[in-house]
Symmetry: C2
Subunit: 158 residues, 2 copies
């Protein structure tokens, strides 16, 4: 099996959208996906792109993607956040995920980022073991807080 | 006591830096702060600013700040991340923190953000209770992963 990793282009967003939906379906939350292909093109390829992607391509087919963007730490400065890394189900186990992961880390390294950050499900032991094996640290005493759109609306309008 | 909340300007970054350092000193990690006033000005006020701030001003003195920026969710789209919210020690308990918090949420609401996200220390029960009282959700099954600069360098160069 041979694949290449390259930066995602506008024309790839249809396939990136398929991968996003495939993962949401697998997680049994397909209705949670509100983003559309049009949004991805608008938000990722405007004058101020809100994210970048790498895609894994095999025989001209997109079989995986990583979506990432910059954040900012008040202590460290420029930080890269890996938002999502998806490999289509029947192409897992061939090193595509690791190749995408490395590409994002290499991008961050070349950028001079002070840190790369992402979230992991706490029960996903395989993922956590893999991340640790590459030198990453799983923070034990921080939790993620979300103010959802509906709750934000309630808070502001009340 | 009367204060105003306004968007932070270049000229405020010296005071914002003082607040960042005050917090780091309180957390007994002053040496972890690598960012300088020059970095804040460069990164926050260039053609593509990496963050925005609100500052709380009382009698022409900056007594608090919130630093935030946009992120991107593959499911929801545009998201606002609240990176840090700091009120100088002797001005806590007067509602300045809540006013800064509200300002960031209002900014996200006006932007049409689909979610506001931040991290909290899991033992900080007061903060968690406050966030929940405003409608926020503390995610129970996600953990934050950091690849630090030194480990990133090791991973890429090995």
């Amino acid at each position: 099996m041979s694949f290449i990793i390259r930066e995602g282009q506008k024309e790839d967003m249809q396939n990136v959208m398929h991968l996003i939906k495939e993962l949401a379906l697998f997680e049994k939350l397909p209705n949670e996906v509100e983003v559309t292909e049009v949004d991805l093109i608008k938000d990722g390829f405007s004058e101020h792109p809100k994210f970048k992607t790498f895609v894994a391509e095999e025989n001209n087919k997109i079989v995986g993607t990583a979506l990432f963007y910059e954040r900012y730490s008040t202590w460290k400065g420029r930080v890269v956040h890996l938002e999502d890394l998806i490999v289509t189900k029947h192409k897992r186990g061939f090193g595509i995920g690791i190749a995408l992961y490395k590409s994002v880390l290499k991008y961050a390294y070349d950028l001079g980022a002070k840190r790369v950050v992402w979230d992991v499900l706490s029960w996903n032991k395989n993922a956590i073991d893999f991340y640790k094996s590459t030198g990453a640290t799983v923070l034990e005493d921080w939790q993620v807080v979300h103010m959802k759109e509906h709750d934000l609306k309630n808070f502001i309008e009340s």
